[in-house]
């Protein structure tokens, strides 16, 4: 039963005994075990990535009232593998005047910046890569590599549209990184730690989504922008700049960008689960009751975690396929004039309240946090409404006709 309760340490211990039995030194054994473990984890992530292609195509088809891939294999499950074979045997064109090395580095960095996130993703209390004490910032650092990959790819293509797309995408990503970093501070304050394991454990009683719903909303919006998905996908706005930074990429290199985007979306769904929905745990204390103790099994936890991550991914897809694209000036204004100030207000609120309410009993703390968020949300909506009214009045002065139309519409 050891295996079922702590699979990674069980296998690692067995292999350590085996390898040291062969006369290898302790340090080398550690490296070899890490090597094997990491390879297994990354291969798992990549296989999941391939399946995500199928999920994405199937779900978007349903959103658009189609059936989606259904010819190859049961429910079209073999379709993504066929896609990969197609991408691999396609001719790979490097445009003239491209910077060869950087042109190849772009897609590799793009997917690597996503894969390294899996090092800290806690699949369950016993199945995880590493429990870093700066994990939350590590998430931001990996995003920095992603930004770099886009600017490298766009620059190396030697194409106006690619460069323009890269500029837009980078302006987009770095702008929305600010509210994201600010919001990442909130789980850090609530759990009093940057380690994802500690953040998960701190939510065994109550999810942070309930303590700070506004933070969750801001995180979701900035995560979508960071991913460059619709409605923030003007980096690849087909009608304006053709395909954005990956216009010159074909074959497997394009496939890597595409796979990276899907895995990134899923991984962010996973991090949303960790930071706000209790990760692999968060059953509101249910797992402490004897009858439900099977919820503590690492394999059950992993399934729960993957389900929550898939839910986050599904929400991101839902938004992607129901929203039109936003213009770049609106998008940047939305970030700097609305999202960033709001995130800072929520941060100050959380920091001060976590101090003021610390003396209260648990339910007072939870209710105080929750209602303070509701109040802030309400005030924000009221300010927006007043602003909208003012704008409409200003517009009405300009053209009486359009005002009349709006009156009728209202």
């Amino acid at each position: 039963m050891m295996f079922l309760n702590d699979p990674i340490n069980f296998i690692a211990g067995w292999m350590r005994d085996l390898l040291t039995g062969w006369g290898l030194s302790n340090g080398l054994t550690t490296v070899i075990i890490y090597f094997i473990g990491i390879t297994v984890l990354i291969v798992f992530a990549m296989v999941l990535d391939i399946l995500l292609v199928w999920v994405e195509r199937k779900v978007v088809a349903r959103f658009q009232d189609r059936i989606g891939p259904n010819r190859i294999g049961p429910f079209g499950l073999i379709q993504p593998f066929a896609d990969i074979i197609k991408l691999i045997i396609k001719e790979d064109i490097t445009p003239a005047g491209a910077d060869k090395l950087l042109f190849n580095l772009g897609p590799v960095l793009a997917i690597a910046s996503v894969i390294i996130l899996w090092a800290i993703l806690p699949l369950s209390s016993k199945i995880f890569g590493v429990d870093l004490n700066v994990a939350v910032l590590y998430l931001v650092a990996a995003g920095a590599l992603g930004t770099l990959s886009i600017i490298v790819g766009g620059w190396a293509s030697n194409n106006k549209y690619a460069l323009l797309g890269a500029f837009r995408m980078v302006a987009n990503m770095i702008s929305y990184e600010i509210p994201m970093v600010v919001v990442l501070l909130i789980p850090t304050i609530l759990a009093d730690s940057m380690s994802v394991q500690k953040i998960t454990q701190a939510q065994s009683g109550i999810w942070f989504a309930i303590l700070s719903p506004l933070a969750l909303i801001i995180f979701l919006i900035s995560a979508i922008a960071e991913l460059g998905r619709s409605p923030f996908d003007l980096n690849e706005a087909e009608s304006e700049i053709v395909a954005g930074f990956h216009i010159e990429y074909s074959g497997m290199k394009f496939g890597l960008f595409y796979a990276g985007e899907l895995l990134h979306a899923f991984t962010f769904g996973g991090f949303m689960a960790v930071l706000f929905f209790g990760g692999y745990g968060g059953f509101f204390g249910l797992e402490k009751i004897g009858f439900f103790s099977w919820l503590n099994n690492p394999f059950v936890q992993a399934v729960v975690f993957l389900a929550k991550a898939m839910f986050g991914y599904w929400v991101i897809m839902w938004i992607k396929y129901s929203m039109p694209r936003i213009r770049i000036d609106h998008m940047l204004a939305f970030n700097w004039k609305f999202l960033t100030p709001l995130a800072l207000v929520v941060l100050v609120n959380t920091a001060v309240l976590s101090k003021v309410l610390a003396g209260l009993p648990n339910w007072g703390y939870v209710l105080g946090m929750f209602f303070s968020n509701i109040v802030i949300g309400f005030i924000t909506v009221e300010i927006l409404r007043a602003y909208g009214r003012k704008q409409r009045k200003a517009e009405a002065k300009l053209s009486p006709q359009s005002a009349q139309n709006q009156e009728q519409a209202a």
Partner: protein, 118 residues
Amino acid sequence: MQNEWLYIGIFLVIGIIVPIVPLVFSRLVAPRKPNPIKQSTYECGIETVGDSWVQFKAQYYIFALVFLVFDVETVFLFPWALSLKQLPLFVVLEGVLFIGILVAGLVYAWRKGMLEWA
């Protein structure tokens, strides 16, 4: 501590090798018949005019600049957030003052009209 980072280091190396594998494999099996037309820069079918160095809006730079300042300041807030629990309330307010100064910069940029896409 050290072992955790060793793990991250190995992860980084393998994470870079894994995407290279399909690229190399593709290189081996995919046909390669380059010709000038195929390799020309894609621009919706017409010939490219000039080099790809068109003039970009300096506005992109302004946003990157505001981002840089904010990024540095918010990163400093992480140690502060971690020590909240051990410190008295007025120390928390020091962090709030820090955020206040940050907001002053944002307000200035806003007032100057630098956040407009003009």
